[in-house]
Symmetry: C2
Subunit: 353 residues, 2 copies
């Protein structure tokens, strides 16, 4: 096993000093075209690659980005579909850039603990931090980051009232679109079955719901708003409750696709028709929304794009610490209309047949 070539080896081979080699490697300072060529030849010949560790020590900079993935406590293999596309977005942006991506998963509880981030940041040497979470990142965590002066970007977990650098998606707007859509289809009494209301997404979706009802002249009935968790089972149970309400809701907004699927089971069981008697919409555009019968209207969240944007933002502040790179970015979501809420289409179709 041969040793790796160092800058010294290259310098000796060419007959110059290591300073010169360093210059051509980093495109720093001025170096004669001829020397440049000779150095590059030697680099190729020796298969020289700068030692990242030594470089970091010398410069005080480091080329790694740390991605925190905050999850439910306890951490269990999850069906949550957000992480991977976001990671992929980050990774895609980072190709060709010098940054390495380091990731660590931790529980929501852990992450909230004061000093948690500090501890981690002490042990490693990190250029910048990305935080991906379903819960609002607390003020003291932000303070830790800013006190240490380490650049960061939040992904989907910024406090709505805080101007930290973050990439979000428009939960409120998405729900507004859903409500408008349901109203267009003729639904007048709307209910909502949400997931974990401690999660930021859900809180925003709830707000969006109430807002949209008001804007569309629909009446808000607190009894038609249910929460719980994100499971199929909860969807089923809560929907059964809603079906006992008077007046019965004719349109249901669900916190995610799984809840919607559970709710659909309850509706079918009651003998009601989807969408004619009860229209229903989900969230996340997971594969189940395409697979259930009838297909589920849902919301497509621009996850990949969020990852790309977050990485880009961080890259820009890291490359140029003085650059003001904006604060909050909120991406719009697209709603995907399918059978579960297509009442007008359903009627037309019925007539044609």
């Amino acid at each position: 096993m041969e040793k790796k070539a160092t800058i010294k080896d290259v310098a000796e081979l060419v007959g110059v000093s290591i300073a010169t080699v360093s210059r051509v490697v980093n495109n720093h300072g001025i170096v004669a075209p001829d020397t440049q060529r000779r150095v590059n030849d030697a680099i190729r010949e020796l298969d020289y690659n700068p030692n990242t560790v030594a470089r970091s020590l010398a410069t005080g900079r480091t080329e790694t980005i740390l991605l925190y993935i905050v999850q439910e406590d306890p951490i269990v293999p999850t069906t949550w579909s957000y992480e991977l596309p976001i990671i992929q977005g980050i990774n895609d942006y980072l190709r060709g850039k010098p940054w390495d991506l380091q990731i660590t998963m931790c529980s929501n509880i852990e992450f909230r603990q004061p000093g948690f981030l500090n501890d981690r940041l002490n042990r490693r040497s990190v250029g910048g931090v990305l935080i991906m979470s379903a819960w609002v990142v607390e003020g003291h965590t932000i303070s830790e980051l800013e006190k240490r002066n380490v650049p960061y970007v939040l992904i989907g977990c910024n406090d709505p009232n805080r101007e930290s650098p973050s990439v979000e998606y428009d939960n409120t707007g998405a729900v507004q679109k859903l409500v408008e859509h349901l109203k267009d289809q003729g639904c007048e009494i709307l209910g909502l079955i949400g997931g974990d209301q401690y999660q930021l997404h859900m809180r925003e979706r709830l707000q969006g719901f109430e807002l949209a009802l008001a804007e569309n002249g629909l009446s808000l009935c607190k009894r038609l708003i249910k929460t719980g968790d994100w499971s199929v089972e909860i969807g089923y149970l809560r929907m059964k409750e809603l079906l006992r309400a008077h007046p019965k809701p004719t349109g249901i907004v669900c916190g995610n696709d799984y809840i919607a699927v559970g709710a659909m089971d309850a509706i079918k069981e009651s003998g009601a028709n989807i969408p004619r008697d009860v229209a229903i919409v989900g969230f996340d555009d997971t594969i189940v929304s395409q697979v259930v019968t009838p297909n589920l209207t849902t919301v497509r969240v621009p996850l990949h794009q969020m990852g790309m944007l977050a990485a880009e933002r961080l890259d820009r502040t890291l490359s140029n610490p003085l650059a003001a790179v904006g604060r909050r970015t909120v991406l719009p979501c697209e709603i995907v209309v399918r059978e579960s809420s297509s009442i007008l289409w359903d009627r037309k179709d019925a007539v044609e047949v």
Copy 2:
């Protein structure tokens, strides 16, 4: 912004040399209990944390593990459900250990290119490598790794005939269980709809299928074996073909749950009953298997455990390069029986009603 305390600061505060501080930090050599205490006090007082970069430079070792996630080309946000649970397993094992986890995603095509890994390994400084892929890792890639003497563990992508350190799951055995189960339920003519046959998993499942048919005295009919990709659509199309076959298959093994869902659509459309006329089983135990009607019998792959084991294996060779840590590990899968293949139960139920 204060500078971080260094070993020198600690030494000065205590009035000892940096060598002594280094000794107590690393539990190396002998140091007087009293000095030890004073040093520790100073460390706490100054909030000293050893600089990882400097340490790496000095020792020549590094504390990062690189995880390669190899994906379909082009890389797109995927619905593949394997990555996250495996990553979580790796992460869970790594808690408390000194290793940092660095990940990078790349396409299958990229990864196969000779020199690809070498390039990456040159630029970074990496302790060990994990490779997670659906395609067999080629010999030249293994050679690169071994030539550089960097420890590695393959996850689900070892050549069946190669004794490289790897963690796999028992595709063949899983399919055998499925076939046995279908036979127990009274199915005599079995068909298979597979996914991408260039992927290792699929090849093994195909082999398992043919093997199991022979073992169970069932006849193998090549015309009843179809492949394509892993999508719902392919499942639908291939199943329509199978329904035109004579004799018609009465049991279908699908490459994954999505294919199975598509196939179920085709079966329902034909007016046949699931499971009585055609029983069907999927693979992966994704949420769709619980959501379709009837529920889908499927295979649960021990993803989290695979991640844990792979990380453990790598950790062990990294901690003790001389340790022989075994080679191939193959984990059994569990089959989850649900309605889509429960013919006996279905009959009994019908009688009771």
